[in-house]
């Protein structure tokens, strides 16, 4: 059992703040068993409020003076050095347990006096056995003035599971809280506000401006995002146009390099792709596909006119332009994504990105077309040559059969300009041979 003495010093100061001090509390499930024997108070009925009359007060004062005057005594109860009792004299615990007190308020304070004092002078217990789980002790001071000042300070002590036996225990506790410092802080803040009332007004205006500015900023951000998207859209459109032009030129050049028929195809494809470039987004996709088909048809037409080889070329060109359509389709998708995701970017940044994208796309398209046209031109040359050889051979075979001449005689007649109708064959079964052609030339 603890004897507790609380001394609240009378108002030496006026506090504009609010303070409270809390002594230890057990937040865990503590279980304490104790068998204690306290030293019985010598005068258990004696109060501390002076109700026992003048003689009692005189006795207390005499006891206090005797205690204070005792040689070597650290105790100075009832003086300015410690917690001053409201009655001005020593309390019962102070007198009864002074022999057991190990700490005195005066011994741990200088000249300052606490605003809140919880003094447990001594607890004497013969034997204690206790078990505790999670003992939490907290001593704190908290002061708050509206939302302007919030002050707190405290110490926390945590004790985990403990089980112990103590014999011959003497314990003491002393808790003190001072409000001087807290009061001074609050006083300074309030004094500052009192002397500078515009601070509160400026705080209000700042909050107001903050709200208004935030709204305006959001609005501007929205507008800026809108402009950015618009500009990106325009940039993408221009980029697609540029790509269309570049792709058209590329196809045109490839067409020129691939020969007359292919040149026409290239021009057609170029024009188609140019038209494609003027459109944007899905239009590019459709036109790109249409351009491929159109060029394919052109190629087919040319192929019918020029033979199977040119037909192959036309198909190749159609495939190449189809690739352009596909690339433009990808470009259109990229431009669309750019326009969709361009809200956070600046105008110039997205414009540059669109141009770069257009250039890259044009390069890719030109490469594809060039590669396809080169392959087709090679195939065209080879095919034309082969076809020419085949045609010559067929024609010679026909003439050889018609004129009953050997192939060598036919080649010699073509080279020397000899009409085989005027030549009589001297070979087997009247077949015209090279010698006959040479003689006919000599005669003519």
């Amino acid at each position: 059992m603890a004897k507790q003495q609380t001394s609240q010093r009378k108002g030496r100061r006026k506090s504009s703040g609010s303070g409270n001090a809390r002594s230890s509390k057990n937040s865990g499930g503590g279980n304490s068993k104790s068998s204690e024997k306290r030293r019985a108070p010598r005068k258990s009925s004696q109060g501390s409020n002076g109700s026992q009359g003048t003689s009692k007060s005189q006795q207390r004062q005499a006891a206090k003076d005797a205690d204070r005057d005792r040689p070597g005594s650290p105790f100075k109860y009832g003086t300015d050095e410690g917690g001053k009792n409201q009655t001005g004299g020593a309390t019962v615990p102070e007198r009864e347990y002074q022999d057991y007190t190990m700490l005195h308020p005066g011994s741990i304070s200088d000249s300052d006096e606490p605003d809140v004092l919880v003094d447990i002078p001594v607890v004497e217990v013969e034997e204690i056995h206790f078990e505790l789980d999670n003992l939490m002790a907290r001593v704190s001071l908290h002061a708050e003035v509206l939302d302007l000042v919030k002050l707190s300070v405290g110490v926390h002590a945590e004790l985990g599971k403990v089980e112990l036996n103590i014999k011959g225990v003497e314990a003491q506790a002393l808790l003190r809280a001072r409000l001087d410092h807290v009061t001074a802080i609050v006083d300074r803040v309030l004094t500052t506000l009192d002397r500078n009332p515009e601070l509160i007004q400026s705080i209000g205006r700042s909050v107001e401006k903050l709200g208004s500015g935030a709204g305006q900023a959001v609005g501007e951000i929205g507008q800026g995002a809108g402009h950015a998207v618009e500009d990106v859209g325009e940039g993408a459109e221009g980029a697609v146009k540029d790509v269309g032009k570049g792709a058209g030129g590329a196809v045109e050049d490839v067409g020129k390099g691939a020969g007359g028929a292919v040149e026409d195809v290239g021009k057609g494809a170029g024009g188609a792709v140019e038209d494609v470039g003027k459109g944007a987004g899905g239009a590019v996709e459709d036109v790109g596909s249409g351009a491929g088909q159109a060029v394919g048809e052109v190629g087919k037409g040319v192929g019918q006119g020029a033979g199977e080889a040119l037909g192959d070329v036309g198909q190749g060109a159609g495939q190449a332009v189809g690739g352009v359509g596909q690339s433009l389709r990808q470009l259109g998708q990229g431009a669309g994504q750019l326009a969709d995701g361009g809200g956070g970017g600046g105008q110039g940044g997205n414009g540059i990105t669109g141009t770069k994208l257009a250039k890259e796309a044009a390069k890719v398209i030109a490469k594809e077309i060039g590669s396809a046209a080169t392959d087709e031109a090679k195939d065209l040359g080879l095919a034309a040559t082969q076809k020419a050889v085949e045609l010559g051979e067929r024609r010679r075979q026909k003439r050889a059969s018609k004129y009953n001449a050997t192939e060598a005689a036919l080649r010699a007649a073509e080279e020397d300009g000899v009409d085989l109708d005027e030549v009589e064959g001297s070979g087997a079964e009247g077949r015209i041979v090279v010698r006959d052609v040479e003689q006919a030339k000599q005669k003519s």
Binding site: A21, M102, L103, I108, S109, D110, D112, P114, E131, L132, V139, S140, L141, K150, L151, S152, V153, G154, V155, H156, A157, E158, L159, G160, K161, V162, E163, L164, N165, I166, K167, G168, V169, E170, A171, Q172, A173, L174, L175, R176, A177, R178, L179, D180, H181, V182, A184, I185, R188, V189
Partner: protein, 101 residues
């Protein structure tokens, strides 16, 4: 008495007056732990705080052992803490207090 003290960079000096001060002292003829507890002490403060913790032991090691009886034991424990506020500097200059930061 063996004195132990935790020192921290923001430790309260002996000269500074704490806003909160808690002191405990226990003296026992026999002390025996059946279960040794884990202890933890910390300080809190707003807007900030400076604190110090002082402990003293007699006939008790820093790390006690379960099942061992310690005799004529004495333990003192004192924790002090003070609010640190920006206006403290102003207050110190007004008072000419050199102990204030």
């Amino acid at each position: 008495m063996s004195e132990g003290k935790k020192s921290r960079p923001d430790e309260l000096s002996e000269e500074e007056i704490p806003d909160v001060d808690a002191a405990f002292s226990v003296r026992a003829k026999n002390l025996r732990f059946e279960t040794v507890p884990e202890t933890n002490v910390w300080f809190e403060g707003e807007p900030a705080q400076r604190s110090r913790l002082d402990t003293g032991r007699e006939n008790l090691p820093d790390e006690v052992e379960a099942g061992v009886t310690y005799r004529e034991v004495r333990v003192t424990w004192r924790a002090r803490s003070r609010i640190v506020h920006p206006t403290d500097a102003e207050d110190s200059s007004e008072r000419g207090d050199s102990s204030e930061p």
